[in-house]
């Protein structure tokens, strides 16, 4: 009864305002996605038509047909998936290991090493882009899956995120595990990792997103089309020197975005926990 009364009292003014603002925010966020999905089923001429309308006059799947008829499209999709999944697994494993060491172990040069990790976070990627390419190319890894994956297998952001999360795991848990005779490996695998699920889910999504959308690195490292990822292939097909095939581009965008939306929905609960507890995006 009391509960009901409270809700009632606060509903009219503030609640209405709050819901109004939230609805507006949701609409603003979803509008571009709606435009993308609706645009993907209409011809380019209609997309750029002026004045424009939200609903397609005659929905068509020609954009998707055109996209799928491009040679190797399935391969590009698989390449993207392979690279993204490999980077996710690498980050989950190595970043949490490094994070554990930085958070719970004492060793010489720890703050120096961690300082280096933070420095890498600060240095913009563009400044290291060419040296990184030269390095990977000198290792003979250009035009290979390893070349696509290796530079992103461990990321400073991931190490930092895991370290912050593991720091908050009570030391007493680690000590208890040690008292019970568990070694570092067992402590890490059986005590720390299960507690890190929210952080791991966050890291998984962030890594997947970054790799799935990555354009510039795959563009320069892949020397033949069979190593292209989706964003590179999409740019090849739809963005010309003097014009853009918007229909094809939007159909491609839908293809690229859908797996991410599904992944996010699947991990949503953990993701939000992860953000709340580590305090970083």
């Amino acid at each position: 009864m009391t509960n009901h009364a409270t809700t009632r009292r606060s509903f009219p003014a503030t609640r209405l305002l709050l819901y109004g603002a939230l609805t507006l925010g949701v609409c603003a966020t979803l509008a571009p996605f709606a435009w993308m999905f609706l645009g993907s089923v209409r011809p380019t001429g209609e997309i750029v038509a002026h004045p424009s309308s939200w609903l397609p006059a005659a929905p068509t799947l020609t954009n998707f047909e055109q996209l799928l008829s491009k040679q190797n499209f399935g391969l590009y999709f698989l390449n993207s998936a392979l690279v993204a999944v490999a980077c996710v697994l690498g980050n989950l494993l190595f970043c949490s290991m490094a994070g554990y060491a930085f958070a719970k172990l004492e060793f010489a040069g720890k703050s120096l090493l961690f300082g280096l990790v933070l420095t890498m976070l600060i240095i913009p990627g563009v400044t290291t882009f060419v040296p990184l390419f030269v390095l990977v190319s000198n290792m003979g890894l250009s035009n290979s899956y390893l070349g696509l994956i290796l530079p992103f297998l461990v990321t400073p952001l991931g190490v930092f995120l895991m370290r912050q999360f593991i720091r908050d795991v009570p030391d007493s848990l680690v000590e208890a595990a040690r008292l019970d005779g568990a070694g570092e490996t067992r402590t890490f695998l059986r005590v720390i990792l299960p507690l890190c699920r929210p952080a791991l889910a966050t890291l998984a999504i962030l890594t997947f997103l970054a790799q799935w959308n990555n354009f510039l690195w795959p563009l320069v490292i892949a020397q033949t089309e069979d190593h292209y990822t989706l964003p590179v292939a999409l740019a090849l097909f739809s963005v010309g020197a003097n014009g853009t095939n918007y229909g094809l581009l939007l159909a491609g965008a839908v293809t690229v975005v859908t797996p991410i939306i599904l992944l996010f929905l699947a991990l949503q609960r953990y993701f939000i926990q992860g953000i709340a507890s580590t305090g970083i995006k």
């Binding site: 750029v48 038509a49 300082g115 990790v117 390419f133 320069v220 590179v232 090849l236 020197a241 003097n242």
Partner: protein, 431 residues
């Protein structure tokens, strides 16, 4: 709190360590431009070459290359299709690492930028006859007195206008600057909100504005190409003419800022004319249908100013990397593609306009009225100055001309700004 001070300390320690480890000194990155290689003989080509071609060109090139493989049975051409988007980054990183293909297609405007890295080989002596190409195309392949690219296809911009509105107003396409304004005003009287569309506020706007300066007789660098000369009466005349379209309310101050924005307005009749290249016809077809293009679109060379009707020229050129594994066959392939028959065949495959003038003598290239307009335009069309710093200068130009279009600065003040900034950037050319 403890964490914060600790964090600051670790970052500082880390940064110092990184700088020490990487060595924070800077060396002179400028290398010697590629030297001229030995001449290419006329024996059949052998071995495999890998070439990069961008966008549609990359998708279609294997069809053309098949002919080369047929004529040179021991040679094989592997084509990698590369997106136009950020292709410069790909070429630059390839050059930096030495991990390059044999040859690549590049945008004509980017040759100087790549040549200055030292990663491109000079075109071997007597490989092709420079006089065979449109003069503007041959000019964009030269940098610091040497030639690094062989023109493949060209593009230039002419005036597209609503033929139906012009007929209704009983006016014909303008031939001079004096006829320009009245012609556009007449189209506006037929119901178009804007007479013409001019670029402003978007990247690459300079390609639409510098031609006005050229038409007035301006030359934007000195003879040796070592200094920019934007502060001339001719350049001012050109920029004032550009401004006049906005003050007379013939052109929208907000210009089209993204690709694909203007076509629907042109189809709807709210903008009566635009300046664009050979690709525009297919864009208009997709926006308005084939009958719209046939019945309502007219095309004419740009109206001439006091000096000429010069338009901007772009296009694609072939370059060979210094680190090429099979330079002989790469150059032979490029020489083959610059032959009139192949130029015609490529037009048939891709619609790209031939850079070789004699390829225009037969077939659709000789008879089509729209192509005739572009052919005329190509004769006087020119590229931007071939300097390594041109990209930086165009950013300044784009920003200043937007201010002129929006009416917040005068053409004179804009040119002074452009000149002083361009002078500070320098041409980067040593000769």
């Amino acid at each position: 709190m403890l964490f914060r001070s600790h964090l600051v300390r670790t970052v500082v320690v880390g940064s110092v360590a990184t700088l020490l480890l990487t060595g924070c000194g800077r060396t002179d990155t400028r290398q010697k431009p590629g030297s001229a290689g030995s001449p290419i003989d006329s024996s059949p080509a052998t071995g495999t070459i890998t070439v990069w071609a961008m966008g549609t060109e990359g998708e279609l090139l294997p069809k053309l290359a098949a002919g080369f493989e047929k004529a040179n049975t021991d040679a094989k051409v592997k084509v990698t299709a590369v997106p136009w988007q950020d292709y410069g980054k790909k070429v630059e990183t390839a050059i930096a690492s030495g991990d390059t293909p044999d040859a690549t297609l590049v945008g004509a405007a980017d040759i100087a930028m790549f040549a200055t890295t030292g990663g491109l080989e000079q075109v071997p002596p007597k490989l092709v006859d420079d006089a065979a190409f449109y003069p503007g195309a041959a000019r964009s392949s030269a940098f610091e007195g040497a030639t690094y690219g062989v023109p493949w296809y060209v593009e230039t911009r002419s005036l597209f206008y609503r033929k139906d509105l012009a007929q209704a107003a009983n006016v014909s396409a303008p031939k001079t600057w004096d006829e320009y304004g009245p012609f556009l005003k007449a189209l506006q009287k037929q119901g178009a909100k804007w007479g013409l569309s001019l670029p402003t506020g978007a990247a690459q706007s300079w390609q639409g504005v510098l031609p006005f300066m050229w038409q007035a007789g301006a030359r934007l660098t000195n003879d040796g190409g070592t200094a920019f000369t934007f502060d001339t009466p001719e350049a001012l005349k050109g920029l004032e003419f550009y401004q006049s379209f906005f003050t007379s309310k013939t052109v929208s101050r907000n210009g089209p800022v993204s690709l694909g924005e203007i076509e629907p307005q042109f189809v709807a009749g709210s903008t009566a004319a635009l300046i664009s290249g050979p690709w525009e016809e297919s864009l208009l077809k997709s926006a308005g249908g084939a009958s719209f293009v046939a019945d309502k679109v007219g095309i004419a060379p740009l109206p001439a100013g006091p000096d000429s009707n010069a338009s901007y020229m772009g296009g694609g050129q072939w370059t060979v990397f210094k680190d090429a594994k099979n330079r002989e066959t790469a150059w032979k392939f490029i020489r083959w593609m610059a032959q009139p028959e192949q130029q015609k065949a490529w037009y048939g495959l891709s619609g790209d306009l031939p850079a070789v003038q004699s390829a225009w003598k037969q077939g659709k290239l000789a008879t089509d009225p729209a192509l005739k307009v572009f052919q005329t335009q190509l004769k006087t069309a020119q590229p931007g100055p071939t300097t390594t710093t041109w990209k930086q200068v165009t950013a300044v130009v784009d920003a200043e001309i937007e201010k002129v279009a929006k009416g917040v600065t005068s053409p004179k003040a804009a040119l002074e700004q452009i000149q002083s900034k361009a002078a500070a950037i320098g041409t980067g050319n040593k000769r």
